[in-house]
Amino acid sequence: MLKFVVVILALPAVMLPVATFGYVLVRGWAGMTEAYGLMDQVTGSLLLAGLACALSSPVSLGMAVWLCIHGKRAGSSWLLQLQLLHGIPPLVYGLCGMVLLVQWLHWGVSLMAGAIVLAVVVLPQMTLNYLAALQRIPREWTEAARSLGLGTAQVVLRVWLPGAWRGLVTGLLLSLARTLAETAPILFTAAVFSGVGWPGSLLSPVTTLQTHIFYLAQEGIDDRAIDTAWSAASVLVLLVLGGSLIAQWLRARSLR
């Protein structure tokens, strides 16, 4: 019975990519190399996701390490706060980013504004991912290192980080996949529909796969535009799936 329920629940997760690729295979990779090309969108999505994770990663790692060190004393309240932050709809972060970064700081719709908002969106999940990776380090390793006279910083640098690197990379890739899938926060802060190539600076706008699909599906007036939206969706699914699969593979290896 349980297996049946799991299969039913897993069906959408399997069918969605299959349907997306099926549509593209039947209709052809419309306009991928022509007027409706997607290279700028792929570049924009990867730049935004990469920059967001680069901004979020050191803070998340620091918080995860801090929670590991002070876990018993202060950990539970911090974990609760992280889970609360994780539950806030990303659109709310997007609105805050628009008011603070785009309008108040006059950055305009830009790569940097979008990356900062995405970094905040992904911060709780990334911290929880890193925390899970660090908590898998055997307690005996920490005790053995401390009994050899290693200080806290040394234990973190020489035992925790090398011991948990696979789990940390897994957490990073899962977070990267999450940022690639986010649309709402960058609608108002980073993305424009077209006319943008490689951003000239951090304060230039970008065009992304997510928003591209949104605009094409909403405003497409011919079949070609809808086909391109499906092609873009396939590429996006491919990127997210690729990141998730690598993450799962690394996770399985780190658990061995």
């Binding site: 055997p138 005996e140 390793w141 005790e143 053995a144 290192a145 401390r146 009994s147 050899l148 006279g149 290693l150 200080g151 020489r158 035992v159 090398p162 011991g163």
Partner: protein, 262 residues
Amino acid sequence: MKVSPQESRQPVSSPAPLLKVRNLCLELEGRSILDQVRLDLPCRGVTALIGPSGAGKSSLLRCLNLLCDHWQGEIVIGERSVRKWPGGADALRRHLGLIGQKPVVFPGSIRRNLLFGLGRRERKVVPLSRIEKGLSSAGLWEEVRDRLDSSAGGLSLGQQQRLCIARALMLQPGLLLVDEPTSSLDPQGCHIIEETLLALARHLPVLWVTHDLAQAQRVADQVIFICQGSLVEQAPAMEFFTRPKRLETREFLRWNVCECDG
């Protein structure tokens, strides 16, 4: 390397104890783990710390090297309180080598594990002679001399435990705290570890936690018996096993002998 227990059992030469514990109390989650423990550790030889499971033996070791630091009372090594140890808790832990129940080797080579406790600069300039000396002290040099850069995970459990001993010795400790080091080993591995530690005990005081009375009889010069967090009796090994003073000790010995017999 072969050393008989009797050979290592030399009379305690210095009347001044190396380590003094006074009124040590430890509570964990509202439960008393150690209660007013008072003991003296001589400057040389093996002192066995025995007691039933849950008596607080391992907790006492963790208090000594400040891995557990929320105790009350006083612990003095030489003339210095461990709370005011020069260089802090990390320096204290380098002075008190701790060997745990299960061997803990870090991912990486035998060499990396051996040098794990040393500083970054020191690790880079350690001569082979020092590595040889460290591994030889733990009776491991001959077995690993040709594969220092092989994974430490490939060693047997007994070899890993001796690697842990060598790793602690590389820091030139003034006292060795040993927490049931043979509990995860087969009889042969157990025998080798006992011999290794007895050889070390000729130059280095060893506080050896065990719940194995036969092992305590084989290795100890002095025995400390704790039960339910309190020190019951401390006496030279011969006297402890033949003429125990306290009723609790006699019952513990009788019960354990009965258990061994049958």
